[in-house]
Symmetry: D2
Subunit: 318 residues, 4 copies
């Protein structure tokens, strides 16, 4: 698996990094220690690697209680406090924990990801370095038509000749554009000039010829408040698949790292719903024994349907 | 000029917006009122338009003095205070002013611009909309080779056949990739299906086939502290030309909008230099009558040269 | 009213500022023009004044649509879009609007207010200036005992001798501490030395003797996304009364300034509730005809009660 | 030492926290491991304790190089890169490191500290808890008069009767106000009601009677870019002594934690100066053999003097 994504030399660097251990007074989480530096494959050439982390569930409690020591009490009290903090939108105790990852992803994904401003990023510079010939081509199972109902969404799968043709175009155009990028640069991966009769276009210009499917790499560091904001939007089914798969990996890492915070996050954010004043009124009508419809509740059809999706009994017989 | 960048209908929208005026108690700046909504062309298809602004030089003073009224005194005192604030790295009074612009720029430029996190951005979504066939092709005079001394910089101009070939490649690849983008979408600009026998690829996937030279558009709002951070890095000669031309337009807008702050910014940031402890020591050696070299000052050659570039007398005879 | 809060000279500065008008192409809101600079009294010596603003409801739409012109369509479409954006946690279009206010408030209030980091602040410096003898003494109707059920809340009113004694203590201690502050400074309000035989303690030290009831003043600028975060927490009934009264004034200003955004904010935030996964399950049980209790829904009593407070039918007969 | 600042029980909590160790793959720094949880006394009742940290000098390099492994090369290259990054105002690689501390400080210090917005804070809540009888009284050697030349600065020491009287006032007022705070609360430290015939004022109101010299406690987490911004302003001799002593402790921690970054920070920030366009011109005049004065260089006297303070040869005979 790894060899299509990283070279043997890169893999050796990772193994070397993993092999060094020290003794620390800091809070450690065995599951995170296992994960550290390990490459988790995502999409056809991407990955996500945990580089460092700071804190665990107890660090939330320690800060919330402004403790002298580690700050934890009984497991049940601690979990109750974490749930209370998350439910009441306290954010600062969750800011006390950090995670740092290395990510390789298509530029279309990076362009969505970077919109989350409360994070630190160091991206591989294509002004400075020559990018590899690596670009994202969707798996046949992810090749979706435009949704007919949601302008930002996907509909049916493409199939047959159309699917084949689309995949060929994506692959051929990305390859041809990379060929021309390499020709314009006129240098090999070590920066040596290929054709001495040509000057070669500067890297900062040549990269313009690459498609948005090209892979890029960055270090990304975020605190757990920022991470939850990211996950809430990007692990959601409305998010584009090509970023959602990264968010799902991160959500699973969070589950192993911070079991209490993760549970609270699932209950109070991911699997929660927000009811508007009008939706509360509609539920009260229903509880009072009346049938409800979009019309008699002055809700838009979409708001009505979303509510019913979570509480189907609203339109069934009591 | 306008017709290569915006349509007649778009131009009409701009004219309509410009034609509405009101009376206000807010501080206004005539030069900014003139600029409002007007399209300033940048690169081959880009532009920058001022959409709104808040405050003027007096608003810096008003906040710094926590005034009851407008807060200004004599022009000379006011200018002195602004210079003092900027020199001593006071940032909050400059945060009290805002500018909002609409920008059209190549995606490579947008990717650098977005790294400035202290700003608000609304970008045209290519998940939602179909992009226009507009991409950046450098002017022949900007087609630079890779610098041989600076891995991030440009060297000589490309000329002759190599230049012609590079421009052809950039243009042809961008056009071909756009053709295939349009074919994969299978919808026209109004969203009507072209070939009823095909489903059409979703917009969020099809856009992957576009090159990084493609133009995008956004609204960008920033306060003057953030603006100066942006200008300091991006109006600098180390910045890539394709973002520097936008920064230079913004710097000129700042000059018209905030003459006092602009002057102080030029004197204390743009045309200022920071001397390290070692560079101060080197100047002191020179003032004591000794000749200085990178070797006897323990400066890197680059630090030595940068210092001498600003103060050539350091290595001439006094 | 004004004379207990601002001097005649300060009032004249405000009147002068109000009297200047200009013509602008920027969006204006008549209600905000009326408010500009006017002092709105809060608590016994505090105030809130609107100093500047940028944008109106249409500016949200303009940015969300990345428009060429002002961007608005039919009023109903515009309102629908604003409601959609707020419901789906889109934040950047609301960041495109700004408000700047001057506020005078007790230091205890300022200490809570400053925790909102996404804002710009210029506070009157007591290192530099001498503070006025102004401190907050609660009105008898706000003199609450500690709540017996909520460690952060207020319970019954204090009455009788205890109330009188508390008010006397607060007033006398603040006055005595101010007397000593003034004596230690040994300068009058114009900075002239009073007793030539004493040096006078530096301002930055002397201010330590003041109580947390002392009034301070600042300029505060925030975008509407930040404003809504502030209002959501501080206009809430859990907020301390001494900051809530300021938040309520701001909420009313928002109502006049941005009627569509304000309505959506009331419906989707202020008067909305968030239901956890467990609460949704509880409602579904009830809709299926079963009685629900904290015990059979695995909700804490507090979560159960909060839900029932919004939807009393949950525990009544259907 | 510790007993005037923390109780035996608190000390035990710290010792317990220190005694737990684990094995980790994360980068550790022995000097930081030694420091962890240990109380460093500051002022008369304050302290600073390191609670956690993430990264070391090599983490700056790892991110700047977007490495696969730990990313370091030869020590000399690494140091050169760190110096380059700092000199050229690259900020993101320094954001990849974090430090978390617990701090006890007077409220006047906390009010200055909180202005640094790029940090995470959890403060002990006096709405929720009862504060201890602890307030800052300056040491006799720090009891400075108002500066006659700098409105924000300190001048000569107070001495004799005036000093005695000032210290008495500060101590007596703080004590009396605390007595009345305790009386108004009508509860002991365990929250038990003292006088059953009184209700007791709510904590959120009673705290108003405390002076700004009262100690408060918080957890503070910041990345190294934010830390350097804090240190640049607060370890500077213009900073108020009561925050500078904390900054100096942090600067010393940084020296032990990040020796390379600390050295670069001292050379390029703390011991560096920024020369304005006019100051550069003045130095060039001097290097050309002319005498310079504030008048013939169009510098303010202060700017002239600051420059000469760093480079005395500017006004001596060459």
């Amino acid at each position: 698996m790894t060899n299509s994504r990283i070279t043997a030399a890169q893999n050796q660097e990772i193994e070397d990094a993993r092999s060094m251990t020290s003794v620390t007074r800091r809070t450690t989480v065995p599951a995170m220690e296992d994960l550290m530096y390990t490459m988790i494959p995502v999409l056809d050439h991407g990955y996500l690697r945990v580089i460092d982390y700071m804190g665990d569930d107890s660090a939330v409690i320690q800060a919330a209680r402004t403790s002298y020591g580690r700050g934890t009490k009984h497991k049940q009290n601690d979990e109750g406090l974490i749930r209370y903090l998350l439910r009441h939108w306290h954010t600062t105790p969750f800011e006390m924990l950090e995670i740092k990852i290395a990510v390789k992803m298509p530029i279309i994904t990076a362009r969505q990801w970077i919109r989350h401003r409360h994070a630190s990023v160091n991206e591989l510079s294509a002004r400075y370095s020559i990018l590899d010939r690596e670009f994202y081509v969707p798996d046949a199972k992810d090749l979706a038509a435009q949704s007919q109902t949601n302008k930002q969404g996907r509909g049916d799968l493409l199939t047959g000749e159309e699917a084949t043709r689309v995949l060929d175009l994506l692959r051929d155009d990305a390859n041809r554009n990379y060929d021309h990028y390499a020709w314009m640069l006129n240098e090999d991966q070590q920066g040596k000039i290929i054709d001495p009769n040509r000057k070669g276009l500067s890297r900062e210009l040549a990269r313009m010829n690459l498609t948005l499917a090209t892979y890029t790499t960055w270090y990304w560091k975020v605190n757990v408040h920022g991470l939850m904001n990211f996950l809430r939007l990007r692990a959601d089914h409305h998010a584009q698949y090509e970023i959602r798969v990264y968010a799902e990996v991160l959500l699973d890492i969070m589950r192993q790292w911070l079991p209490m915070t993760h549970n609270a996050f699932m209950d109070y954010r991911v699997n929660a719903i927000s009811l508007s004043a009008q939706q509360i009124e509609a539920i009260n009508m229903r509880l009072a024994g009346r049938d409800i419809t979009p019309q008699n509740t002055s809700l838009t059809k979409r708001e009505f349907d979303e509510m019913v999706a979570s509480m189907p009994g609203l339109i069934k017989q009591a």
